[in-house]
Amino acid sequence: MNEQVKKTRDPFVRITKRDGVTFGKACIVRAVCIAVALLLCAILTVLVTGQNPLVMFATVFKGAFGKGRGFVTLHEAALLLCVSLAVTPAFRMRFWNIGAEGQALIGGLATAVIMFLFHDRMSTFPLVLLMTVSAVVAGAIWGVLPAIFKAHWGTNETLFTLMMNYIAIRLVEWFLKIADKSGSNVVSHSLLGDGIPNLFGVQYLFNIVVVALLTVVLYIYLQYSKHGYEIAVVGESENTARYVGINVRKVIIRTMILSGAICGLAGLLIVGGASHSIDSNIIKGRGFTAIMVSWLGKFNPLYMILTTFLLVFLARGADEVSTICGLNSSFSDILTGIILFFIIGSEFFIHYQMHFNWSFFEREKNDEAGAFSAEKPAQTDEKEEA
């Protein structure tokens, strides 16, 4: 009888889904989670480096916004935001494009090839135009291939896009071998020329302006256009989309062309507008970080500005800490990982509610008492038998 009571007892924690959470409340939950994560990161940093935490925080700020750093940080954020914007339409459609790295890289490669071939033969304006077109087309091709197979045969897009990353890397290595006979790992500025000129004589300004415009345009496209609505419906339920007469295949392919094209544009900005050189690690994992940025920003371009700055700020700050303390630069990856865990976990507390059943423990005590009293006579029985 005791066992039956145990089985039907309510669990200690019961979880129910929340219907609607106010925006403010969700923000508070997220802010608390980020604060806890930062605290944990601070403790970890102090443990590893053994330095004063206040000095450490000053170092982080100096790394991100110190003298001459602020603008570079802004530019870093712009590049990351550009890749994040690229993956957003696909993610809204629940198309798990983890190939942004490759799509951006192939865009960069196309830029580099054009620069390599024509930089001393064409004037600046047609050259930049040709670079842009080739980068966008290359990125779009890299993005649309998985989409075609996904749309027609349901091929797993996560792995397809992932494999395309590595094919892009090898293509870049091939280009490196052909373009630079010395066997160097990078095709440098001297072989590629100047690429995109500085806007108003300010370095990186062109990239920042392009990304700022793109953010606004993409926000309007996703929130207010018919295409944006179709993407949202396909993402919510393909069956619903089919029922209301949306051509799902067309939407998937069209959206991935867009996604790949913006990635290609990011490649153009990185190679043509910033580094003026290419190597196989030029995207530096932004394609993967972009997924976090996009997801954390709820696939909304405006929120994504905030999440981009959070991640770039942390990465640059942690870089500064590791340089000063002579630690490995991967320390920032660990900190980023910890913060991501907390932000990912915070979603649970926004979407679900926990109900604690405090009587759980009281009953358990009773059960134990009951079990004890039931056992006692059994023991005495045994003794009697012995």
Binding site: K17, I98, F160, M163, I291, W295, I344
Partner: protein, 330 residues
């Protein structure tokens, strides 16, 4: 002939980390969890083993004792298992208990794990303030590489079959055991049920949460051994940052290539291992090497497309792969 034999031997060495990773990921995916954190977990498994071995080797040197092979193997092995278990548990807690998005969580784990590996690999000496120039666990590596005694006496046959450290055999045994458990036992049946349709499994009285936790944790620990093998056996105990490369992602590709069957993963990883080093054995011009290095990925793509076009019910991923389960949701 000797070239062919060394090629096969090198291919099997390349294949072993992939096979560990693939077996781990198959077990994980059978429970409906798509763990994209496997690359990071493999890094964690590697660096945890290195940390354990580093302390043991230094302690031996300080005390003036010789390194005992059995302990030199057991300490890194245990550390590796614990390290990858801890990181996998973060993934489990976030995706199973907190029902977070599996893709994003997995990628975060990969960022974290890779960072963990490279950070400790690069800073271990500075943090512990020891006076060695770089992390070189050569003595411990020798214990891991110890082959069967008759390997060198049986010629080509011995080179092909006996010339490996114990982890190579362990990877194959684990894959076979995983295949048997998944297909022939009640536990395997329950696990597959959880991966296919957790609501039905739940209704049948299977503890979905428990199965998901155990499958993912065990899968992560097996994958971590792949990292340990790579650093201790393949690289001779020398840690190089990012040395493990993209093998974690290839392991995930093998899962699809092997159609979610651990026994198929054995030949599949041998094939990938061969393709990985093929460029060393084909006399091509330097410029073409990157094109040859593309082959594992192109083969994966072709396999991926072919399996999806054939659309055979037997050859599909677990139906609820990538979805978190919430009992009260309909």
């Amino acid at each position: 002939m000797t070239v062919l034999i060394t090629f096969i031997q090198r291919a099997i060495l390349q294949a072993t980390p992939l096979l560990f990773g693939a077996t781990g990921e198959i077990i994980t995916e059978k429970s409906g969890n798509l763990n994209l954190g496997i690359p990071g977990i493999m890094y964690t498994g590697a660096i945890s083993g290195v940390i354990g071995g580093f302390f043991y080797q230094n302690a031996c040197q300080a005390a003036g004792y010789a390194v005992v092979p059995i302990i030199a193997v057991l300490i890194p092995l245990l550390c590796s298992l614990v390290g990858s278990l801890l990181v996998t548990l973060i993934y489990c807690f976030l995706t199973i208990t907190l029902r977070a998005n599996q893709n994003v969580t997995g990628l975060a784990i990969t960022t974290f794990g890779t960072g963990l590996g490279n950070f400790f690999g690069g800073s271990l000496i500075k943090i512990t303030k020891s006076d060695v120039p770089y992390v070189a666990l050569t003595k411990i590596s020798l214990a891991f590489k110890k082959t069967l005694p008759f390997a060198s006496k049986t010629g080509a046959f011995g080179t092909l079959f006996f010339s490996y450290g114990f982890l190579v055999y362990l990877s194959i045994i684990l894959a076979i055991v995983a295949a048997i458990v998944l297909n022939k036992t009640r536990v395997g049946l329950h696990l597959r049920a959880v991966g296919e349709n957790p609501a039905t499994a739940d209704a049948a009285g299977i503890n979905v949460t428990k199965y998901k936790y155990f499958a993912t944790a065990i899968g992560g620990m097996i994958a971590g051994l792949g990292g340990l093998f790579f650093v201790m056996d393949y690289s001779g105990g020398i840690w190089a940052n990012n040395g493990f490369g993209d093998r974690g992602w290839l392991a995930i590709a093998i899962v699809i290539f092997a159609l979610w069957k651990p026994n198929f993963a054995i030949p599949a990883s041998f094939l990938f291992g061969g393709l990985y080093i093929l460029y060393n054995y084909i006399s091509a011009s330097m410029a073409l090497i990157p094109i040859l290095q593309m082959s594992p990925y192109v083969v994966t793509l072709i396999a991926l497309v072919l399996t999806s076009i054939r659309n055979n019910r037997e050859k599909q991923p677990p139906a609820s792969l990538g979805l978190s389960y919430f009992r009260e949701e309909r």
